[in-house]
């Protein structure tokens, strides 16, 4: 670590150090400027924006059908979750929320829960590396690889498949998908047992995490923390339960909470969340036996099936219109939130009636979660900053957008 800690300033008994922006433990491109007295952090500040790519501006200049491709790039560990939140917002503005076919809803829930597990796998693997537990990384990336293979099989790409569309999903699940999913459902509990054996009672990990980065429920609300970090302070706020979307109210699952509010509590909450996600996936798996439509029955919104284009003039016209100028969305503004692996991910989408979104404002959970480092870091050890950042699980594509 001493290699990247450049002394920026020295005065009196304190020293100002720069942690990052290129440091593996910062999980992206984050610069933390810490003022330390000995090893105790007196003050911490952060520089973000190194990964800013103007996604919100790009989205304003794309068709409604195209903008889902750029919003997927925000949280690159949960691209399908971002896409889901965006399409839900657009569907709400279009007034077609109730007309989305059941099978499409099931696939959306399946994809968002698979993404949650894959995202937590990255958090657990890289968080383990931060603390010196290198082998965890290989166990978790084994699960993630299986999940990315499933996403690739259905959407065509591992990371940004643009599989969820306004009105449904793009193409049904391919043959052999359910067999692969079954294999994952069978394999997963064993893998989780291994991970728990490796980590949960590991004395080094407990020493590093317990009572580090502790946050009270009041502070969590004031600092706008959501997701596993809020639930680790004892608040059972989960948008899948509080404001259900895509049929989450149908499924049985618990919302794991802890009351300690420290890094170890967040670790346990996320581990339990992975089990709960798999519980939902097993229930969705039963529904996927039944075939059904996967796109809304509305030629103004859904592209006609490819094979009809050569046979029907109407299909050809509809296809041409949707591809060349998208559809128009009635004027209005809507705030649509979903439970991303990092907390409340929301889009505030404004339409002025045109074929492009007027404004797509993201509520980035990572940014607000990361901001709380300003509260957590002072008073702790400098080495604990690494643990704190890891426990906040920020994704910089989303922090910087």
């Amino acid at each position: 670590m001493s290699v990247t800690l450049d002394v920026v300033e020295r005065s009196g008994n304190t020293m100002t150090l720069s942690l990052g922006p290129q440091h593996p433990s910062t999980h992206g491109v984050l610069q933390v400027i810490v003022e330390v007295a000995g090893e105790i952090v007196e003050r911490a500040d952060m520089e973000i924006g190194y990964l800013h790519t103007g996604i919100e501006k790009s989205a304003e200049n794309l068709f409604w059908t195209q903008a889902s491709t750029v919003v997927e790039r925000m949280d690159y560990l949960n691209p399908l979750g971002n896409a889901l939140c965006y399409v839900l917002a657009v569907e709400r503005l279009l007034g077609i929320t109730d007309r989305i076919p059941e099978r499409a809803q099931s696939v959306r829930v399946l994809m968002s829960e698979l993404s949650r597990i894959a995202s937590h796998c990255v958090w657990l693997g890289t968080g383990g590396i931060d603390l010196g537990a290198i082998s965890t990384f290989f166990y978790t990336f084994d699960i993630r690889e299986d999940i990315l293979a499933l996403i690739e099989a259905s959407g065509g790409a591992r990371m940004h498949p643009n599989y969820l569309r306004v009105g449904g999903i793009n193409g049904d699940l391919p043959g052999g998908f359910l067999a692969k999913l079954d294999a994952l459902i069978v394999k997963f509990p064993q893998r989780m047992r291994e991970l728990r054996t490796l980590l949960q009672n590991n004395p080094i990990l407990r020493d590093r995490m317990i009572d580090v980065g502790t946050i009270s429920a009041e502070d969590a609300a004031a600092w706008s923390l959501t997701g596993p970090i809020l639930r680790a302070t004892g608040v059972a706020y989960d948008i899948r339960r509080a404001f259900p979307y895509s049929g989450y109210e149908k499924y049985e699952f618990d919302v794991p909470t802890r009351t300690e509010g420290d890094a170890y509590a967040r670790f346990l909450v996320r581990l339990e969340e992975m089990d709960e996600s798999m519980r939902i996936i097993a229930q969705v798996r039963q529904e996927l036996e039944r075939p059904g439509p996967i796109m809304i029955d509305d030629p103004k919104i859904a592209q006609p099936p490819k094979e009809t284009i050569a046979l029907s003039m109407e299909a050809l016209i509809h296809h041409f219109k949707i591809v060349s100028e998208s559809f128009r969305v009635p004027p209005g503004d809507v705030y649509q939130a979903i439970e991303s692996p990092r907390g409340e991910l929301a889009y505030y989408v404004v339409s002025n009636g045109d074929n492009r979104p007027y404004r797509v404002r993201t509520r980035p959970p990572s940014m607000y979660n990361l901001q709380s480092l300003l509260l957590m870091a002072p008073g702790g050890l400098i080495a604990d900053i690494v643990v704190m950042i890891g426990s906040l699980d920020p994704v910089f594509g989303e922090v910087d957008r």
Partner: protein, 208 residues
């Protein structure tokens, strides 16, 4: 272009907010810039414990030009399980901000999470927040000109000369136009000069 696809759309709306309150995603309030702080204080006292987000929208051509949008959530005090949390109240407060005087009072005294959110609004829209302790750009570089999410800011501009920045320097420590220092930056400048077919600047050691 009027739509032939959806007959409910007559044309483009200059102010789409409040057109369709039936969406039911939140309680919507609209207040003026002078009342915003009192409104937020009252909402905070009335149980809106969380300021989820502050967003901005530029309605170019409308007066007032900007909307700043506060998304609030009222989490109950006792929230140990999903049943007691229930369906918490969501409130959306919209404030019109005129272009002539784009200033709002900061909400940082009510919710510390307003810190980065307000900096982002300042960065992207140029709206200033009085009482903010550290109001500077957050996503764009410190020496950037213009506010990218304004509607009159172009999506693409003329390609600018690439200004090499010193590696690992604080963004805020580099004054605008300062020549980059250090071996890495010097090597980078030589590379750039060679790529442009110019005489590469001599390494500092050669002159002696």
């Amino acid at each position: 272009m009027p739509s032939s696809q959806n007959p409910s759309i007559a044309g483009l709306a200059l102010d789409p907010t409040g057109v369709r309150p039936d969406l039911g995603d939140a309680e919507v309030l609209r207040v003026g810039p002078s009342e915003i702080h009192a409104t937020l204080t009252a909402l905070r006292a009335g149980g809106c414990t969380m300021l989820l987000d502050i967003g901005g929208v530029d309605y170019l051509g409308r007066e007032p030009r900007y909307d700043v949008v506060y998304h609030l959530l009222a989490l109950p005090a006792a929230a140990a399980d999903v049943k007691t949390v229930g369906r918490p109240r969501r409130v959306r407060v919209l404030v019109g901000v005129p272009d002539a005087e784009p200033v709002l009072p900061s909400a940082i005294d009510l919710w510390p999470s307003a810190n980065w959110a307000e900096r982002e609004i300042f960065d992207f829209f140029g709206i200033r927040f009085t009482g903010h302790p550290n109001l500077k750009r957050i996503q764009m570089p410190e020496d950037w000109s213009g506010h990218p999410l304004r509607k009159d800011y172009p999506l693409r501009g003329p390609a600018k000369e690439a200004t090499p920045r010193p590696a690992f320097a604080l963004k805020s420590n580099v004054p605008a136009g300062a020549p980059p220092a250090g071996k890495v930056a010097a090597a980078l400048q030589r590379q750039i000069a060679r790529a442009r077919g110019q005489e590469p600047p001599k390494p500092a050691g050669d002159e002696a």
